[in-house]
Amino acid sequence: MASFYWERHPDGPFATLIAVATTYLDPENYDLDSLKRLAEREDVEEMRVFKLELREALRDPSQLPADELSESVEYTDGSDEAFLSRLWHDLYGDEPLDAT
């Protein structure tokens, strides 16, 4: 499909994770630094959902909708799991994945 996953499935699983990652890390408009700054804001509800979904996806990447993350973000990490692991480290450093 030409449209993006979150446009087709705004309430679909991991829609916030895929949308936010694509918005800041799309190769056409890449800006990791801005995403890092946004990740520090605890008052943004969307980023709270993003972090929850990122954590959930890392625990079980097979739950991600097939190919959607890769086709939207077009990362070069090789796999969803590798990309998500890097993203977690970039945004949240050494914060344990299992923290609540």
Partner: protein, 319 residues
């Protein structure tokens, strides 16, 4: 979109490289930039890529019937751009065409489209720089395969994959497709109609938050350019590796790093092929934050094919 009064002041906020008007061919694979015939102005690489695009992509150069009255009514301020008169736009293109060679595409545009393109150039967006007719088929093919940025006017830097618009010599990034709207009137029409489309309007009218960037929005090509609008789009896509686009992108990076370091790459040289069709496709609008004016603007826009179907493959590309 940070210089709304730039035309009056003849000032630009974006870099203005001092270079030639036609893209020189980068070193590396492929042929040298030699004209085919005395009357042939294209290089061999450009002729080759355009022929492949015609045969495999079904694309033909054609003029878009510009809705000149509609374009004339377009208010640039709706997109956070400078108010530009037809005469000021013509002067701007004439004065800046050497340093900003993508403006040469405005030569073939209607005066009303030229006004929009000039406004976008002053505003700082890059859609008209990377996704319009100034970018040749050859340049788009090399962008996908070797991450050579058409906006990089320094040949050596372009060959090294250095971005032409970002500061501090950052590496250029590119999706697995590089696409363009091939006619300047079609580009300006898509931009003007996109700005007024409810989905785009909703973003541009959002309350501004300096930390938040709006999500990407897509609008069907047919909504902006009519049912035959896809005919004014062309593009190249990375060839999958082992049936996977994900692997192809990873291999592309590894191959380019190895080449830059003078090592023998472990993977095959990345290749690109024409997008078979844009029928059913969309125009993607990406947004930027205009901190000076506390509003959002359009960072870029580009065509996106409906299905990432690789010609000759039995199934859809798996990532």
């Amino acid at each position: 979109m940070s210089s709304r009064s730039g035309l009056e002041k003849s000032e630009l906020d974006v870099p203005g490289p001092n270079t030639i008007r036609e893209l020189p061919r980068a070193q590396g694979s492929g042929d040298q930039a030699q004209p085919l015939l005395p009357e042939e102005s294209r290089s061999r690489g450009e002729a080759y890529a355009e022929l492949r695009q015609r045969v495999e992509g079904g694309w033909e150069p054609r003029r878009f019937e510009a809705p000149r009255a509609e374009l004339g009514r377009f208010d640039p301020e709706r997109a956070g751009l400078a108010q530009v008169s037809l005469d000021a736009a013509a002067d701007y293109v004439a004065q800046n065409r050497d340093a900003r060679p993508w403006l040469t595409m405005a030569d073939a545009a209607s005066p009303e489209a030229r006004r929009i393109i000039a406004g976008a150039d002053v505003g700082g967006g890059h859609g008209h720089i990377r996704h319009e007719g100034w970018v040749t088929e050859d340049a788009n093919m090399r962008r996908v395969a070797h991450l050579e940025d058409p906006a990089q006017l320094d040949v050596v830097k372009r060959n090294l994959g250095i971005d032409g618009l970002r500061e501090n010599d950052q590496h250029h990034r590119c999706r697995s497709t590089a696409t363009r709207i091939t006619d300047p009137d079609a580009f300006a029409t898509a931009f003007a109609r996109g700005v007024e489309h409810p989905k785009v309007r909703e973003v541009l009218d959002m309350p501004f938050d300096p930390t938040i960037r709006p999500k990407v929005v897509t609008v069907p090509i047919a909504d902006l350019l009519g049912i035959h609008g896809h005919r004014y789009c062309s593009g190249w896509q990375l060839e999958p590796a082992d049936g996977s686009m994900n692997t192809a992108r990873t291999n592309r990076d590894a191959w380019l790093v190895a080449r830059a370091e003078g090592r023998k790459p472990h993977s095959l040289e990345p290749k690109a092929r024409p997008v078979p069709t844009f029928e059913g496709g969309v125009i993607a609008f990406l947004f930027e934050r205009n901190h000076a004016e506390n509003r959002y603007g359009i960072a870029t826009m580009f065509p996106r094919p409906a299905e990432r179907q690789a010609a000759g493959d039995q199934s859809r590309i798996r990532s």
